[in-house]
Symmetry: C2
Subunit: 406 residues, 2 copies
Amino acid sequence: MRFRALPGFRDFYPEQMAVRRTIEAVWHQASRRAGFQEFDGPVLESLELFTSKSGPEIETQLYAFSDKGERRVALRPEMTPTLARMVGARAGGLPKPIKWYCVPQFFRYERPQRGRGREFLQWNVDVIGASEPAADAEVMAVAIDALRMLGLGEQDVVMRVNDRRFLRRMLQSIDVEEREEPEVLGIIDKLARDPAAAKRLEERLGEKRAREILGWCERMPLGRAEELESVLEACRDYGVEAYLEPDFKTVRGLAYYTGPVWEIFDRGTQLRAIAGGGRYDELIAAFGGPDLPALGFGMGDVVLRELLQEKGLEPEAPPRVEVFVVPIGPEMLGPARQVLARLRERGVSADAPYGGTKVGKALKAADLIGARRAVLVGPEEWAEGAVRVKDLASGQEQSVRLEDLE
Amino acid sequence: MRFRALPGFRDFYPEQMAVRRTIEAVWHQASRRAGFQEFDGPVLESLELFTSKSGPEIETQLYAFSDKGERRVALRPEMTPTLARMVGARAGGLPKPIKWYCVPQFFRYERPQRGRGREFLQWNVDVIGASEPAADAEVMAVAIDALRMLGLGEQDVVMRVNDRRFLRRMLQSIDVEEREEPEVLGIIDKLARDPAAAKRLEERLGEKRAREILGWCERMPLGRAEELESVLEACRDYGVEAYLEPDFKTVRGLAYYTGPVWEIFDRGTQLRAIAGGGRYDELIAAFGGPDLPALGFGMGDVVLRELLQEKGLEPEAPPRVEVFVVPIGPEMLGPARQVLARLRERGVSADAPYGGTKVGKALKAADLIGARRAVLVGPEEWAEGAVRVKDLASGQEQSVRLEDLE
């Protein structure tokens, strides 16, 4: 009988794990150097935490079940409810602005398809308690900083930026009523991807108003978007303006955004979103947290990794060890282990055969692993407190005293 | 309405997360420098993977449920079944020995109590495809290496070592029958903790045989334990012998061990196990994997953290940022962000106020955060391409050209 991973779930063999850890390391680095602190919450939360704001229909996409204590629980599909809960529990004691990030795994019961499994990692960066546009710009810069570290330049990815207040104001200027807004925003959101969306807009608002909107989508009326001006200015200070593209079509599907919104796309296909974020000033309170302005973004690992692969930028796994220690003869197995212990203690990754002591075979193993050096432990040199160090690239060898080995 | 974390689940606020990450970093470091590669599997697996070997009774301790596709699934309570599954799927293609480690989160539906929640992190280190005693010694040394890095010395912790083959051979030598073994091993396992265990042993085996066993427990008959000799010798080569204590009472509760077994205890209370491991040569095949010898250990985060706290060794959270940038006046907010961008790009963690520009308040914030330096961005110096750098410990200030700032 052969078991398999559940559909939509991933096994991370060492070579995949190395790539995952490299991407995560970049996420950590970009967050930390911008002064964000890491937090984490439980993988499992009470179901109500997720349905209280989004409504019970979200349950159909969740891994939800009853635990043995008859609690309705769910595997987390997103972080904001947990963030709101945790900030809420300590709101008074936390100095503002709260700058937190996390690198959690999320779970959604969806039909597995390319770029969308039932489990994924997502980098989340949030600022709570800041209403300044500079905060919006900062998280945008942090997202771009990570992509830049991974080798993705402005020729590879684009950040489309808009503002919900601006969007709504423009719609009001052509007499779109408030109750019509969600539907109209939904259609605008689809304009870039769905050829039928323009037609639906016309059906909904008439030819004249539809054409007006399509004009704004063609060319963002930046002169009227004063809400975005200071965000864009701060982005220039942060040096990320080359990645930015103000874009009227960027709405973000989620209803809860209240200010700047943005999405990062692969310039190649213009279809795959790599990250998305925005300001959601009412959301923390809606999830039962304190009434504090907030903003943030999420960046998943799946599309990002696909893109890095396509661009030949996928990080390479480092060699398993740096040094391979080779005992010359069976009586040198013990000394070889002493050499191992010394190297490891000094922070050098090192390995040696457990038993077999064929030198040629050991050197071949060292090569296969990608080790840069072999340390040969032979009886004569050992008696004098030394070993031979062989550079596996150049083939050069030299005798090194044990206390100098590192 | 106020939500809470589920009972037995932990919220990791930044200060707790920093400790968790420091412990994890030590686990990673000890693994990698000994040539182990990280892997990971799904948090959710099919229930059958866990019950196939352990039997259906394990289900009572699991977070098990039916997903929307009517699959019986469970949150992972341990890693070995996943490890066996993953190795099984690629056994032919993986060079032996397979040296893998992981730092997963596990889930068990148990009554939450001190040192035992419903979720915990556990470092797992395994070697598959090595029958040499040196492999046993190596993973023992890796476990100790991590504790040593965390500041725990041989005066703090002890590794009790035994061997299942030796145990069984000794029991056979006093005519304990094979069918009695599990029960007798179970009683021996309890001797160190349960005062009633000695009496039960006597009831079970009679006074004479019980006294014999109690004698071995008092003083390990090492001269008869040839199975352990080469493990202990390799441990001496690895320089960890001071942590070791051969101990007849160490059995390990789990039935599947086939060779050396060991547990690390806090020397203070002698009650709390920090880690445990051993050889389980038949287990990978029993979980449907290939028939390969194997061994490994697990070290959880909960008891370890408690112990570090008690010893005053809990790692401190690093300061949120190294540098706080202070704009002198509102027109310097933009230049301050340019300074931020430059510092961050050079890998220096740095922060600045989003809006407020009261210098005294900003310096106080810098101090509160634990920043080591403040960078003051004033109009005159900025016009000349420079900023003032203030060492927050000494109070010393100096002018630094922007291109030299790092």
